[in-house]
């Protein structure tokens, strides 16, 4: 009897859940003008198009030096944005964490900065900064920097909160100053976690850098946009392929580092 009631209730919940999902899907399809059947129908066409147009030819390979130069610029930009954001985030993280925070107001301030800079998408930052900084690497760098500060501060606050309090307390008992506690107890404990987050951020930033590049006209995103708009699809394929190789290589390196340190 009881089991039957529970089962019925379960069934009801499943049905309500499915209905909500279906209604939301229908509404979204309606508002965006997305036709599922059309979408499915174009998929094979799209894939055929990709295979018949997006391949690398001898001619496009001649552009490889320029593309590589842009790619390296993009990678360096992502790394620079991440490392400089790390420095800022460590301070914000220390202010925002419950373990090391000294002052409630500062904690709230740190969390607020992190939340705002994280939740305004990188695209918006790129467009806002483009207005005053113009078309150069610094615009892309700053857009990535602001987004990274938001994300890393949240990650660092979590890592610092997880670090054990006993080491901090022990040092406090010896009369260590605030910076000694941070430097000798908090940072050593969180460093592996922090490096892992930094590496993750670099991977994300390289992908975002392409997007920011398209908007701000810098780096590999600009090369892609240029070849894309001049319908040079072989060069587009080469750009895409070089991004893929770069991203996968960086992922492999950081996975290797993570394996050792975590």
């Amino acid at each position: 009897m009881n089991e039957k009631v529970m089962r019925n209730q379960r069934k009801k919940q499943t049905i309500i859940f499915s209905v909500i999902i279906i209604v939301l899907t229908y509404l979204s399809a309606n508002i965006t003008g997305f036709n599922i059947l059309h979408g499915i129908a174009t998929l094979p066409e799209a894939i055929v198009w990709i295979f018949s147009n997006l391949y690398i030819t001898q001619e496009s390979l001649e552009k490889l030096p320029t593309i590589l130069e842009k790619l390296i610029e993009t990678i360096l930009m992502s790394i620079a944005a991440t490392t400089t954001a790390t420095v800022v985030s460590i301070f914000l993280g220390l202010m925002g964490s419950k373990t090391t925070g000294t002052n409630g107001v500062m904690g709230v301030f740190a969390r607020f900065i992190a939340s705002v800079s994280r939740n305004i998408p990188v695209v918006a930052w790129a467009l806002i900064l483009l207005l005053s900084f113009g078309q150069n690497s610094v615009t892309g760098y700053l857009a990535l920097f602001v987004g990274s500060v938001g994300f890393l501060t949240r990650a660092f606050i979590e890592s610092i909160d997880e670090a054990s309090l006993s080491a901090v307390e022990a040092l406090r008992a010896t009369g260590a100053t605030y910076f000694q506690i941070v430097y000798k107890a908090v940072i050593p404990q969180c460093l592996p976690q922090m490096i892992s987050w930094i590496l993750f951020m670099i991977e994300t930033n390289i992908r975002n850098a392409t997007l920011v590049g398209i908007l701000t006209g810098t780096g590999i995103g600009f090369s892609f946009d240029l070849y894309y708009k001049t319908l040079n699809y072989n060069a587009v394929a080469l750009v895409t392929f070089s991004i893929v190789i770069a991203v996968i290589m960086i992922e492999l390196i950081s996975n290797h580092i993570r394996k050792v340190i975590l």
Binding site: I21, L76, V116, I128, S132, Q193, F224
Partner: protein, 282 residues
């Protein structure tokens, strides 16, 4: 460089002692390399047309105008909500379709439910898809399928599938091996195992991951509107800043995106705390 002994000495004869273990060396090595690359980056930056003395005050002024005097001038409140609806719709479609497809692919990618070569093949394909930035997928589909919501959803779908297959298959692999064995012993077929053991024990995880992806997809949908002409609030943002140079409108749109993103983040943090109390990764 003594060939006779195996002890390395410094030039004044002292034995060299390596400080720390491998972990510390790798960590300090990583940090050193990153610092060096950062310095290189600043040297090689393209500073064309940049005047920092002018740009910083201008940014401060722009930000002040944006955030303190937000107004709408090119469209109405109703239109603004409609555009936000389009962005949410794109994100929702990409997420829900991605979740359904990823569920089946993840079943094939999970090592405890599938053959080794199948799971390896899927993993490699997924890694490749993930490595191509979403915006490139959308732009590529835009030529192949024509500009519009189809291209945007298909492009975002690709990335969502790749992300969710990884997350889902990891959840499936955590299912207790004993349960699977017990069901296999009763003669249950593969589909029975999936619906009666794997799905019930991982459902909440799948739901949370899907919601997390929805949160990401919202930001991606804004980006696609701006960079790939997919429509929605992102496109309005692009128009306001790139064509009308209307800072007040940019400010208004940014506020809208910010509020929605914070609401989504609060919801997903709640889900995360409820269902993954002890994991902090991703």
């Amino acid at each position: 460089m003594e060939a006779t002994t195996y002890i390395k000495r410094t030039h004044d004869g002292r034995i060299t002692i390596k400080s720390g273990n491998k972990v510390e060396r790798v960590m300090s090595g990583t940090l050193t390399v990153l610092t060096a690359l950062t310095i290189m980056a600043f040297i090689f930056f393209d500073y064309t047309g940049l005047d920092l003395g002018e740009a910083f005050p201008a940014t401060v002024y722009n930000l002040k105008t944006m955030f303190l005097e937000p107004t709408l001038s090119h469209f109405s409140w109703g239109e603004a909500f409609y555009q936000v609806g389009i962005t949410l719709g794109l994100a929702f479609l990409a997420t829900i379709l991605g979740a359904v497809i990823a569920f089946f692919l993840a079943l094939m990618a999970a090592t405890n439910l599938s053959k080794e070569w199948v799971s390896k093949t899927i993993r490699i394909v997924v890694a490749f898809i993930r490595a191509v930035p979403t915006v490139l997928w959308v732009l590529i589909f835009a030529i192949a399928a024509g500009l519009g919501s189809e291209a945007a959803v298909l492009g975002m779908l690709f990335h969502s599938i790749a992300y969710l297959v990884k997350a889902f298959s990891e959840s499936f692999e955590e299912v207790d091996q004993g349960i699977l064995e017990a069901l296999r012993a009763t003669g249950a077929n593969w589909w029975h195992i999936v619906t009666h053991a794997v799905l019930p024990s991982t459902f909440t995880y799948l739901l949370s991951w899907t919601f997390l992806r929805f949160e990401i997809n919202f930001a991606v949908a804004v980006a696609m509107g701006a960079a790939a002409g997919a429509g929605g609030i992102g496109f309005e943002l692009f128009m306001a800043s790139g064509f009308y140079f209307d800072l007040r409108e940019v400010g208004f749109i940014t506020y809208m995106i910010l509020v929605l993103a914070i609401v989504l983040e609060i919801m997903s943090t709640r889900l995360k705390n409820r269902y993954f109390p002890d994991s902090s990764a991703n």
